[in-house]
Amino acid sequence: MTDSEPLNTVRVLLSGIAEGVVLMLTEPLNAWGGLDPGTGTIVHHRHPQRGSSVAGRVLVMPESRGSGTNAQVFAQAWATGNGPAAVVLAAADHVLCAGAVVSRELYGVHCPVVVATANSCAGLASGDIVAVCATESEGTLQILARRTAPTR
């Protein structure tokens, strides 16, 4: 744990507060056919993070891609308790937001969805522990602990 990590301002797409272990996707995820909502596991045969689970994680990803059915796939993952705890995007993704809103309306799942600049995400890696705090008016992203000490 370190106190020196900066508090990064992020753009709020959906409010909520969450803390968790980062799962960093190196490529966009097409959730329909790419994410098993029954387990939260990434299953697309070509995705670099295939086999990793988004369940309870702070999902950091460039954007989701492809099908509008992604909204249902993410909502189903949240419905069964296998959705991410927070989503940090590089670009706004309203398909994913629709899934998150419906999960909030139907199941009371409050998963914050935010957009962070490349700067705020610099150095972020899978395994880091971060906190996402997003209200209607402002949002922050803070690294609470690094997975390993920086090597250089």
Binding site: R11, V12, L13, L14, P28, N30, W32, G33, G34, P37, G38, V43, H44, H45, R46, P62, E63, S64, R65, G66, S67, G68, T69, N70, A71, Q72, V73, A75, Q76, A79, T80, A91, A92, H94, V95, L96, C97, A98, G99, V101, V102, S103, E105, L106, V113, S137, E138, G139
Partner: protein, 419 residues
Amino acid sequence: MSASTTLSEADWAYLNGEHGPGAQLAMRVLVAVAKSMDAPTLVDVHSAHVDGCLYVGSVSIDFVRALVDGSARVSVPTTLNVGSVDLRHPQYWNGPEELATKARTLMDLYAQLGCTPTWTCAPYLLANRPTLGQHIAWGESNAIVFANSVLGARTQRYGDFVDIAAAIVGRAPFAGLHTDEGRRGQILIDVTALPASVMARDAFFPLLGHLVGQWCGGRVPVLRGITTATEDQLKAFGAATASTGAVALFHVLGVTPEAADADQVFGGRAPEQTITVTPADLRRAWSELSTRRDGQLAAVCIGTPHFSIPEFHHLTKLLNGRRVQPRTPLYVNAGRWVYDEVQKQGITETLEAAGVRIVTDTCTYNTPILPQTDGLVLTNSAKWAWYAPRNIGVDVLFADLEVCVESAIAGTVIDHDGF
């Protein structure tokens, strides 16, 4: 953080529950999405196309049931995308009965909201399609990219839930592709260096779409060097761009309605990036679309997106009175409206007598229809090739339509050149 969306008095009435709890839920979803899009206002839409009819899980039914129980009804003409079952040809179902029951329940609930039961992913093949400049709220990635690009109508890439919410309140967030600024070209894709023989290949448009989706993500590509293209070619291209990428609008200089010249399409600005396509790129796409090269042929699947009337004519010509091997069935997906039209022309009877299995209301890549999933499936659709391996667990080999048809007749993958 942006300013929030300004709502009209009528919008507030929905939000305050004056049209019932179902419509109130719809407006709540729409407003949250409008905020995420930074939309300053909502805009009236002429029509909606709803992509939520595919059964994904309990949430599919939970959401639409909340709308139905809350007395919601659509307020604009609304078509429905494919469901998970072929209501007209239940004999093709090869999945668990429980899933079929849930899928039918979901489809029935959507119809109860006042939507037209079209069950097609290609609503642009129906009568009364949207026109240039009309605001619409469409779901289904291939339909969205076709409506924006080929028809010049205006829709965002609405995901499930939002499309039906927009249909109920008759409004959509005024953002992105609804605005002139959002429709500007961003990436120039130059195909002028490709040999004419390459561009004449049947697989050229889907392969190019596969690449453009990878290169552009959600940005707007502008194609230079294509002088003519049929709607079916643009359909195959767009579906591929929306599978590997999130492309919702493309322009083809001199071909599509908002791309008279480069100045118009780029809004007087320079492209953010220019990509020159080479035959090697297309060969890479070809190889990426196949999970396996050889093996026993299990089935041939075409019609993703749903087959058009000209495509039915073309298939009939390619078959030329020959029969498909029963052990390697040829499946064609089509909307029921197109099916009924070609049935009047005697085509469905001819094809079905030749052993072709025409699937309506759904699609072979998203639901258990294929009797055998451990062999190799041939397709000419980049979209089918992209989704089917995970969705239904098959190995796929991508090929030209002619190779698909000849292989279905031979009962084995015929010798053919790659790309």
